[in-house]
Symmetry: C2
Amino acid sequence: MLKKSKAKIIEAGFTVFSANPTATLADVAKEAGVGRATLHRHYAGREDLMTALAMVAMQELDDAIEAATKDASSYTEALRLSLEVIIPLADRQMFLANEPLDHVPEVLEAYTQQLEETAEAVEAAKEEGGFDVDVPTAWIVQAIETLTYAAWTVVRDGDATPEEAAALAWRTLQSGLMGGAK
Amino acid sequence: MLKKSKAKIIEAGFTVFSANPTATLADVAKEAGVGRATLHRHYAGREDLMTALAMVAMQELDDAIEAATKDASSYTEALRLSLEVIIPLADRQMFLANEPLDHVPEVLEAYTQQLEETAEAVEAAKEEGGFDVDVPTAWIVQAIETLTYAAWTVVRDGDATPEEAAALAWRTLQSGLMGGAK
DNA sequence: TCAACATGAGACAAAGGTGTCTCATTTTTT
DNA sequence: AAAAAATGAGACACCTTTGTCTCATGTTGA
């Protein structure tokens, strides 16, 4: 049952650290229904576990985006579809953002590549007319990331359904929230 | 020199915790050029210090917004001006977001009130036609918050000046980033 | 100058988290 | 059934952080 224990620990890690980023390894082990020693048998320490969680989270993101954009009709549409599928995954990512994992080459590389892929998609969308070429790509990438987070929070707070939140985030990105006349 | 010590500790708190949210009180004391015992004389413990930091940060925000919107011509314009002045203050706020301070009544109340004030301003701006009345206020508030954060990050990363970032954030909110023809 | 107060430095104990190890038990594989 | 592997539980030492206390020094204000 080696695989199962590792999987249970990872899943517990997401659950526990999402709720409390400073939770202890004992908390994680308990949530996983596993002895503390067993956790250490699979992951050398806290940083090891965090690294594993980060890698899993990023892989999940990759997979979800890959699946969602498989048959997108354009880069712009691919970005919209990505936004949609990323929202439910946000809670598996957010607690990692504040984890100082930049010094782990493995994580840094994967993260950097993810950002680059987004940037490339944005540039491609620009050529399609999906985004204004005069707006810096760095800004568009940041806006996508943070609006995804915003969408996740309003869903979490019960202020919108995932579909509604995705639509709002995309609209904000594309055409903003301006109203008509009074 | 009582006042000065407290002030130095607070300032050091912002500096140190911004760089590393899990820094120790010894780190803060050192940065403040103050003995660790002195820190404890002014703030009972870590949570006390964090609470003080949160209150100061929120007060700064209030003051900045108050000053910036003093002679705004409309609620919509007031929101734009607020966005502008908030961006440089973001680094004094962000590290507090991940601090579990909800159980401190003092902080919770101030934070709640701040959100409410923003929501009220948004509703007022809606009536002016600044925002579409069909877009939920909760979304607009979240979008303002997260785009402010986005603006702060691009400035931090050297990808834009504060003025550029503020303009980009506001444009995103108002009319989005859509491009014209290819 | 003198008294009150604030401070720095260091010692100290307490608490919590971490990592390691052992041993008995359970589970899996052969 | 027997061997091998994985696990749970607990004990243990180690380290860091925290909070308290004391004492000598420095600063402020009367």
